[in-house]
Amino acid sequence: MPLTPHLRRLEAEAVFILREAVAEFRRPVMLYSIGKDSSVMLHLALKAFYPAKPPFPLLHVDTTWKFREMIAFRDQTAARVEMELIVHTNEDGRKRGVSPFTCSSSAYTQAMKTEALRQALNEGGFDAAFGGARRDEEKSRAKERIFSHRTASHGWDPKTQRPELWRIFNTRLGAGETMRIFPLSNWTETDVWDYIAAENIPVVPLYLAKERPVVRRNGAYIMVDDERFPLAPDEVVESRRVRFRTLGCYPLTGAIESEADTLEAIIAEMRQASTSERQGRLIDFDESASMERKKREGYF
């Protein structure tokens, strides 16, 4: 299926951004989070550098609480694209037993995602990291640059962002500073799914509806993905036909009831949707400006 002019323009822009970063930075890395946005970003990277392989490794920050199907898909994908995959876990957090069941979601995110990411970027000596975030996801992201500067401690200061004119990116870094780069900044959720369909990009099957074991908790369906899930006395595991609009750590990711078991059905369902995709993300609801605070501390 040929791309619409709209998708073709978005693709050309993302390819331009990927190449620009490779031309300007010493050691870039691609944050690969296994979800649909990462799948699209990886596909764009394969296109941007063809016939060469993308000249950077993939990095997955593994909280140890991802869906098992995500981990399987991750390893298959790395093998399929023949790229180096770095998997990093915050070992200190693991030893302390930080888990979404024992900690508040913000403390858990701080330790197993934000801190883990800092560790991985420091250990790898990376001066630039690609992320699949989109501006339409969240209010503070709507104001973030495509090339987003980070201090030596990986912090983001929204008030001193560099003006970003045309497509001329200021890529200069001071000692220890890094850049986060978002090739999908101008994409919407609909664009991502339309592109996946048009380009036939593999995605984790969790996006498609299937009978899955879930419990009802805090108004959301949470999938019981492994034996670590502690059930409350009044909770019952039931089998429901569900799918996920967004993927993260399974205890923090709400499923929606759905019959959509094909890509076409997902797209049709999304066009009817009355809630945003991040609604399934339990970590965003701490407070209204919580994403901005996390990002200032270095969260992607």
């Binding site: 002019p5 073709r8 190449r19 620009e20 969240e138 503070s140 004119l165 200069r172 809630t275």
Partner: protein, 633 residues
């Protein structure tokens, strides 16, 4: 101005709703409180593009931060940053995305406050159409004119004048017509191709998505209908080919692909093309793509091409057809929008990024400053934050470019401050300067190397930098005596002496200090060409200027010697009594007292005059020159 006000019927007749129009990039701008964020929120709400969970968050935010009591405050939907919500203003450009069956839109919502004008320019740089909001009660404000001027300067050619808050003027047609009339006279001096005026109420939705029952006198489309049909076709595909090389793919010895985004025009396999800077010609052999090679491509595609011949092209080169080439020059005239808290210093070396290439550049002359509120031009010595000036710019090497009017990609650049790494300015190229294209360097039959050989030495600049009283002149004098003993040919340029002659017209302001060093650098370069070892003793407090001289003279021939002494020691010595006078407030801009000294980061030599005698240091410098084979060649 070519076509002032396009009739609505004509615009609509051209529209073809059956075929989706290309994505429209829209900027919303106007003075603070004119209701930009409210309008954007309203557009999204009316199109049912706000999800239930977002609406729930909005309701609770409206009660906490909103200004409309129980009602939903749509501005809070887009004012996403905490500081913005606290202060009730928009600080940064926010991007919003929405689609209708007819078209996809990217909205950039720009801040209205004057101190964020640079962000307004950022939003305008990628926009094809601007919605300029005006509060019907207030009419055109200074900031409205400013935004219209910036939009025009940055190449936005289509304007919607949205006269908002019509509900607060009883939907009065006369008020609307008066504002439209005022804007016509503002637009007369700007470069818009179309202007459409629409009376609206963003808060209540009148004429935003559907026609307003409150304004039956209005005969024309609603804002959304107009945007869906607006024809902003650029001549992208028909314009001359410009393909800036972004990255060279050397997968193996056999494969060399040149990657880049086509800025304008089209190309196909077999086309003869030229690398603009070198003038080397070749033919497009392949357009490589993952799904299979392409036969042709057009703007705005990102492509990877291979050539039939091995020609050298690298990042920053611009590929074009031989019959229509960009300018290649090292001097041009450009508008600069100053974006840094630190003011422009003519002569200072900045880093320019243009068509992917980074190189040294400086502003040689500010021809005038533009008052965007009145359109008046005035003389200026510097540009401060948010000011716009028309300048002559010189680059360290010739670069390929077009005028911005012809090409919004190859006619644009940014300037970066070398030390803070901040984006200092946005540049919009007007035209190449004749003297750059017509003056070729005089070829000389006796070369620098010949002159140097005759003197049995390697010419160089010994640049002594440090605080006043650190001992620069004393040490330089000793070094020169020792060099002359060795039959070396030397020349001494000393700060105080130069200021009595060559630079007696200069003072001690930051701008004058820059010019002082620039002139000394040029003289030193001439003396190096003459084959001399030139000793320069100057406080030269700024890294940027020392770097400028280093670039001018050449890395190989510039030896930076940092005479390091603690400020207290220098004050104690105070050989000319200057510190005493500066501390008493009699001398302004004195380094170390009320002006900073930026110590060299990587000097060739660093010596401490507090710990060792001048004689010992002079010997150390001579030893360095001998060790590097610069004497007695």
């Amino acid at each position: 101005m070519t076509a002032p006000f396009i009739a609505d019927a004509e615009t609509l007749a051209k529209a073809q709703p059956s075929r989706p129009r290309p994505t429209l990039r829209v900027l919303t701008c106007g003075s603070v409180d004119d209701g930009k964020s409210t309008l954007v929120g309203r557009l999204l709400y009316e199109r049912q593009l706000i999800f239930d969970d977002q609406l729930a968050a909005l309701r609770s935010d409206s009660l906490r931060h909103g200004t409309l009591g129980e009602e939903i405050d749509f501005a809070l939907l887009v004012d996403g940053l905490e500081a913005e919500r606290e202060q009730g203003i928009t600080i940064d450009v926010a991007y919003r995305y929405f689609s209708t069956p007819a078209r996809s839109f990217i909205l950039a919502d720009a801040p209205g406050h004057e101190q964020y004008t640079r962000n307004m320019a950022t939003g305008a740089s990628n926009a094809e159409l601007a919605i300029l909001l005006v509060d019907a009660r207030k009419g055109l404000l200074t900031q409205t004119r400013r935004h219209a001027t910036i939009a025009s300067l940055l190449g936005v050619r289509h304007i919607v004048l949205a006269v908002n808050k019509m509900d607060l003027v009883d939907y009065d047609e006369a008020v609307f017509e008066r504002i439209v009339g005022e804007f016509e006279s503002v637009a007369a001096s700007l470069a818009f191709r179309s202007v459409e005026a629409i009376p609206i109420s963003a808060r209540d939705g009148d004429n935003v998505v559907a026609d307003s029952a409150n304004m039956p006198w209005r005969d024309g489309p609603s804002l959304l209908t107009y945007l869906e049909n607006a024809d902003v076709e650029t001549d992208g595909g028909d314009a001359p080919l410009r393909l800036p090389v972004q990255w060279v793919n050397r997968r193996s010895d056999a494969f060399r692909g040149f990657a880049g985004a086509i800025a304008s025009g089209r190309l196909q396999v077999g086309d003869e093309i030229v690398a603009a800077a070198s003038g080397r010609k070749t033919t497009i052999a392949r357009i490589v793509a993952m799904g299979g090679d392409l036969f042709s491509a057009a703007a705005p595609d990102s492509v990877m091409v291979t050539f039939a011949d091995e020609i050298d092209a690298s990042r920053g080169d611009v590929l074009c057809h031989p019959t229509n080439r960009p300018n290649v020059a090292d001097q041009f005239a450009a508008h600069l929008i100053w974006m840094s808290d630190e003011s422009l210093l003519p002569g200072r070396s900045y880093l320019m990024k243009i068509n992917g290439r980074s190189l040294a550049a400086s502003v040689t002359d500010i021809k005038h400053k533009l008052d965007v509120d009145t359109g008046a031009k005035s003389a200026a010595k510097t540009l401060s934050l948010n000011e716009i000036g028309f300048c002559n710019v010189a680059t360290a090497a010739p670069v390929a470019f077009d005028s911005y009017d012809e090409n919004r990609t190859t006619g644009a650049f940014i300037l970066i401050d070398r030390f803070s790494n901040a984006t200092a300015a946005a540049g919009i190229i007007a035209f190449p300067l004749r003297r750059a294209t017509n003056i070729h360097l005089q070829e000389q039959s006796v070369s620098k190397a010949t002159r140097a050989r005759l003197k049995h030495q390697t010419p160089a600049v010994l640049w002594f930098t440090g605080l006043s009283g650190a001992g620069k002149s004393t040490i330089a004098n000793l070094v020169e005596s020792k060099l002359v003993e060795r039959h070396a040919h030397t020349l001494m340029l000393d700060g105080d002496n130069v200021r009595h002659g060559l630079n007696k017209d200069l003072g001690f302001t930051e701008a004058d200090r820059v010019e002082n060093i620039r002139r000394v650098g040029e003289v030193a370069k001439l003396m190096v060409d003459a084959g001399l070892i030139v000793l320069c003793a100057f406080i030269s407090p700024f890294r940027a200027e020392r770097r400028m001289v280093r670039t001018l003279v050449g890395e190989q021939e510039f030896i930076e010697i940092f005479i390091d002494a603690p400020l207290d020691v220098c004050k104690e010595r105070d050989p000319k009594g200057l510190y005493k006078r500066a501390l008493a407030g009699e001398i302004k801009n004195f380094t170390g007292v009320d002006q900073p000294y930026e110590a060299p980061e990587f000097p060739e030599l660093k010596v401490s005059s507090a710990e060792r005698s001048a004689e010992a240091i002079a010997d150390q410098i001579i030893a360095y020159l001998e060790a590097n084979g610069m004497l007695g060649v």
